[in-house]
């Protein structure tokens, strides 16, 4: 399969302070279509910087970045914005939904900034379809504050999908969620990945990373480990186990004397 993301000798140096900070020091890697990659590393390892560059939010100081065949390392601000809009989908740790705006309108948002013109009816249909994919069609009219954390993250995933991106980028998507909801969200990602969507996510939780197919570990701005996960966790199975455990706990509680 063709590589959808190719980076060669990518460097990022911040020289805003007194001492230049070399956050990413020559990372090269290929990500192929249909991959599900977890970027891991301690804080300060450069994973967020790498993610920002992968997300075209930031430009590398040196090196090349080919996204879907185009070299995006030298594009200007507006061209990068169009790339983000057309080829990338973003899921953030803090969901980043617009408050006091319905789920549906949140999902429509990337369409508004699309290069291609889209009728508002088409936009609505497209957004509704994406909400169905994440199982929230019945919550389309809810405001973010009327949704649970997991539901908000699923709305954010639907928003990331709405322009049919080449790559879905998720920055600690489960960081603000409890373990059960985390598994649910990972389930959504796994389902999308099975449908052929390429996903790259940043996480520092090992058990979350185990839902992915490939783990990349960064330290001090370089990739120190790149491995395929052989016995990955499957969300449905894990949820089943969790349910069984809960049921057992309930039975146990019911079985013990009321007093």
């Amino acid at each position: 399969m063709a590589a959808v993301v190719t980076i060669e000798e990518l460097h990022k140096i911040y020289d805003s302070g007194d001492v230049p900070v070399h956050a990413v020091r020559g990372v090269s890697l290929d990500i192929h279509r249909g991959e599900f990659v977890a970027l891991m590393g301690a804080s300060g390892s450069g994973k967020s910087t790498l993610m920002n560059m992968l997300g075209c939010l930031d430009r590398p100081t040196r090196g090349r970045y080919l996204l879907d065949g185009t070299d995006v390392s030298q594009l200007d601000k507006n061209e990068l914005a169009d790339i983000r809009n057309q080829k990338l989908g973003f899921v953030f740790q803090g969901f980043n939904l617009l408050s006091r705006t319905t789920a549906l309108e949140n999902v429509e948002l990337p369409c508004l900034y699309g290069v291609r013109r889209m009728s508002s009816k088409k936009m609505r249909e497209r957004a509704m379809y994406c909400l169905e994919i994440v199982g929230l069609a019945n919550r389309a009219d809810h405001m973010p504050n009327q949704l649970s954390g997991g539901q908000q993250q699923r709305v954010a995933i639907a928003r990331a999908l709405v322009n049919e991106p080449q790559v879905l980028l998720a920055d600690e998507p489960t960081g603000n969620l409890d373990s059960k909801t985390s598994i649910e969200v990972m389930g959504v990602f796994q389902k999308l990945n099975e449908q052929g969507i390429t996903i790259v996510m940043v996480t520092h939780e090992l058990d979350v990373a185990r839902y992915c197919k490939r783990n990349l570990i960064l330290r001090d701005g370089v990739v120190v480990r790149d491995e395929l996960i052989k016995d990955r966790s499957i969300a449905d199975t894990e949820l089943g186990k969790l349910r069984d455990a809960e049921t057992a706990a309930k039975l146990l509680a019911a079985g013990s004397p009321a007093r």
Partner: protein, 418 residues
């Protein structure tokens, strides 16, 4: 397309903060309200003055005693200068009569004019009114018809007879039970200066009703020969004014010059009088109103400016408050220009809506105020368009800086902003 969507987003953002939006626009609302109200009232006052001056008659040249100076105000009251004499009026008459026997017939009518306030008694009732001494040409000058009876004639002037022509309001108040036709022939007693018990006058005619100009009742008048007025009522030797009517608009300038020359000569080169046509009087009387409108307009302009600064302030707060939202939009593919447009539109919508609300309040306010103070109101469409346009311009001017600040945010920084 992209613009319409941006407009819709801007409107939605404003609706989410209705109260804040209204308070933000309040400065503009008050500024525009002030402009519209002032201009409406000022225009109304101006129109009223113009109507009052136009109602004096057509193509008039008026002579006032005393030198008012170039473009000075008109002192139309009495008790001022005493330099204008009946003989001056007679000289003007005979001069133009001589001219008319030649080819020059530029003057249509001439009437001396004296006025005094007086108390009138008749039929056991009394009424305070304005008593005018004029010549038989006066109704011609005013183009005012006598409804019942006749106006007095030249022999009444030369004989200073005790005849009077009254307005509708006089008979309404002194002869409430009589038909106007039957008032002719009745006697009234006019109390002037220094004649105890007053002087009896016979009513020879009743003027057709003319109604009000503004709050001024044009029918509350009594006309008597100016000679009778000077001899029996006001007891003075000088005139308040002389009315000279030119035959047409083109003759006004010539008549003005002729009258000035004649009187200068008669007064031995001493210009102790003022000759003005209606345009001069209108200009003089409306000058202060116009100056007032400009002055208050400038104050209103300052309040619009302050309103604009208020909008800028709130927009800056809004940009800071919505940094995260801006970050999300930028991350999802919005260009800087999209964000700029959105915030600029918000500012313009705020200021334009404020302008429109100000216009609506201004129209309502000026009508209410005009009704309360019994003043005519004339809302000005150019002022409304100007006010709304200026408000929108204020929005653009004061909205640009915050909008540009929003557009230049770095998406990564903005997303990280708490």
């Amino acid at each position: 397309m992209r613009f319409l969507i941006t407009l819709r987003m801007a409107l939605r953002a404003l609706r989410r903060n209705t109260m804040r939006s209204i308070l933000t626009a309040l400065g503009i609302i008050i500024g525009v309200f002030a402009v519209i109200t002032l201009v409406s009232l000022g225009n109304g006052a101006k129109t009223q003055v113009q109507a009052a001056i136009a109602s004096l008659g057509d193509n008039l040249v008026l002579v006032f005693p005393g030198n008012q100076g170039q473009g000075g105000g008109v002192r139309s009251g009495f008790g001022g200068a005493t330099t204008l004499l009946p003989t001056d009026a007679e000289a003007i008459v005979s001069s133009f009569q001589r001219a008319a026997s030649g080819a020059d017939n530029s003057v249509a009518a001439i009437s001396p004019y004296v006025s005094a306030r007086g108390q009138v008694l008749a039929n056991g009732l009394n009424w305070g009114t304005q008593i005018y001494g004029v010549s038989p040409d006066f109704p011609v000058i005013r183009s005012w018809r006598v409804a019942n009876g006749v106006f007095f004639e030249d022999p009444d002037v030369s004989g200073a007879t005790k005849v009077a022509v009254v307005g509708k309001t006089i008979i309404d108040n002194l002869f409430p039970d009589l038909d106007p036709a039957n008032v002719v022939g009745q006697s009234i007693r006019i109390f002037g200066q220094g004649v105890a018990g007053g002087t009896p006058f016979k009513i020879v005619g009743v003027m057709a009703s003319k109604g009000f100009i503004g709050n001024q009742d044009q029918d509350d008048v009594i006309y008597i020969p100016y000679t009778s007025h000077m001899k029996r009522i006001s007891r003075r030797t000088f005139l308040s004014q002389i009315y000279v009517q030119a035959k047409d608009e083109d003759s006004v300038v010539k008549v003005k010059a002729d009258v000035t020359d004649l009187l200068t000569q008669r007064h031995n080169g001493n210009v102790d009088f003022t000759v003005q046509d209606q345009a001069d009087i209108t200009a003089a009387r409306t000058a202060s109103t116009t100056a007032m409108i400009y002055l208050l307009g400038a104050i209103a302009g300052v309040s619009l400016l302050v309103g604009g600064i208020g909008i800028m302030n709130i927009m800056l707060v809004s940009v800071t408050e919505r940094t995260r939202e801006i970050g999300i939009r930028l991350a999802l593919g919005a260009h800087g220009s999209d964000v700029l447009t959105q915030f600029l539109i918000e500012a313009i919508v705020l200021s334009s809506l404020g302008g429109l609300m100000g216009v609506a309040l201004g129209i309502g306010g000026s009508i209410a105020l005009g009704g309360y103070m019994n003043m005519p109101v004339e809302p000005s469409v150019p002022a409304m368009i100007g006010a709304v346009g200026f408000s929108a311009a204020v929005g653009v001017f004061f909205g640009y800086y915050p909008a540009r600040k929003a557009a230049q945010l770095d998406p990564i920084e903005a997303l990280r902003y708490e």
